[in-house]
């Protein structure tokens, strides 16, 4: 709420210089959803902090039954413990709410299983800033060589979603199931208010689109998922496809994907400095309309 507009001296600067300067002042948060990741979570946190120490890290423990919490607490990360398993969507939304409440300007998802390579964080951040046009930057495995062998089933599912989304969004989306994403304040506000329940990645793109937030993809490589359970195996992938396709098509018939409308002039991320004051005063009303 107390976000101040940027000093006037910035107005004359070029966009790029402004972005570079800003990125030092931005409050940045890495959200690490973790469910039974005792072996990986501490390493993920360390990797994030070594890739970019200006990030704060919050680990959202999704009701793990192993030592995930203890491992996370041994690091510099803030740990949020959900009392039971709510699924990846609920866990991520917890992170976005944390980001909103603590006035973060940038939030990035880094999965607790170590699939996302933290060395790409600076690139995502640079794209979020310099593109100037992107409210969310997605790390895409399929813009270039993915760096590991993506199972064929996943590739096909990904292709179907990719085609459908590209048609709806009218913009090429190569990796709609990638969770490696960074979003600005506008995305944080949107997702804190409403985020899909399970298998949220595809729907989240549609939500952004419906709210006229812009998406940009950046090529990344990912680590093959470690041994053991992949969260999506065969019986579940059918449900995955059906659920997401249903959500997509029902979503198309909704006028607004979120029950609550945008407050009239939300302080629009970093770009709209003059509107910030008016936006702040409109805030209480927006909060009141929450139910």
């Amino acid at each position: 709420m107390g976000r101040k507009s940027l000093p006037a001296t910035h107005l004359g600067a070029t966009l790029r210089a402004m972005a570079a300067e800003q990125s030092d002042q931005l409050r940045k948060l890495a959200i690490v959803p973790a469910y039974n990741e005792e072996g990986m979570v501490a390493k993920v946190v360390r990797d994030i902090l070594s890739a970019d120490p200006t990030f704060d890290v919050v680990v959202v423990d999704d009701g793990s039954t192993d030592r995930t919490i203890a491992e996370a607490q041994a690091t510099d990360a803030t740990v949020i413990r959900l009392p039971f398993n709510v699924g990846i969507g609920g866990a991520m939304q917890t992170g976005f709410k944390f980001a909103l409440n603590n006035d973060y300007d940038v939030a990035v998802q880094v999965d607790g299983d170590g699939q996302h390579k933290t060395e790409y964080l600076p690139e995502l951040l640079a794209a979020l800033n310099t593109e100037g046009q992107a409210d969310m930057v997605c790390g895409s495995r399929f813009l270039e060589d993915p760096g590991y062998k993506v199972p064929i089933g996943r590739r096909i599912g990904n292709l179907i979603f990719s085609v459908v989304l590209t048609l709806i969004v009218r913009q090429r989306i190569t990796d709609p199931t990638s969770g490696f994403r960074m979003t600005n304040r506008r995305g944080i506000e949107l997702f804190a208010r409403d985020y899909p329940h399970d298998y949220p990645e595809v729907e989240a793109i549609l939500m952004l689109n419906a709210h006229r937030l812009r998406i940009h993809e950046v090529p990344v490589r990912m680590n093959a998922r470690g041994f053991g359970r992949s969260s999506i195996d065969y019986p579940r992938s059918a449900y995955y496809m059906a659920k997401v396709l249903l959500a997509i098509f029902v979503g198309l018939t909704r006028r607004r994907p979120v029950p609550v409308d945008d407050p009239p002039d939300t302080p629009g991320g970093e770009s709209v400095a003059p509107g910030a004051v008016a936006g702040a005063s409109a805030d209480p009303a927006a909060q009141g309309g929450g139910s």
Partner: protein
Amino acid sequence: MTILAAEGGIDTRVQLVAIVVTILLFGLVIELVRRRRLVERYALLWMSAALALFILAIWRDLLEIGSDFLGIAVPANALFLVAFAVIFVLLLHFSVATSRLGDETKILAQEVARLDEQQRRLRANLNGDGAGPAQPEREEPAPSSARTSDQ
């Protein structure tokens, strides 16, 4: 209204009604999802039920084929049997889901109570008397997070 005239007529009329009803059911489910009153998971369940009824309404022989296969003389009885079985499984599933919700509510209540107590103690410490340096905050163990993973 002679029986003869009704012979073909009622059959198609019933069929028509069945088709309309299943389509309405289908539409209702989608509308509920659209209004966010129903999550996709259950929507898929009901949509497949509606689809099954729809197929039965269109392809009338299917019921007879099915009842022959089950060895039931009267096709209607086969329908009742299957419908009963499906409903039974559904209800069981909902009982499981309700139990899980109850479990989760209990855990939430306990967490709220714990936080409330902690909050009071901290506030009491803060409001002077500093007398009782109540034991320092220690990390609470995770609530024995009942295996309530959804799905």
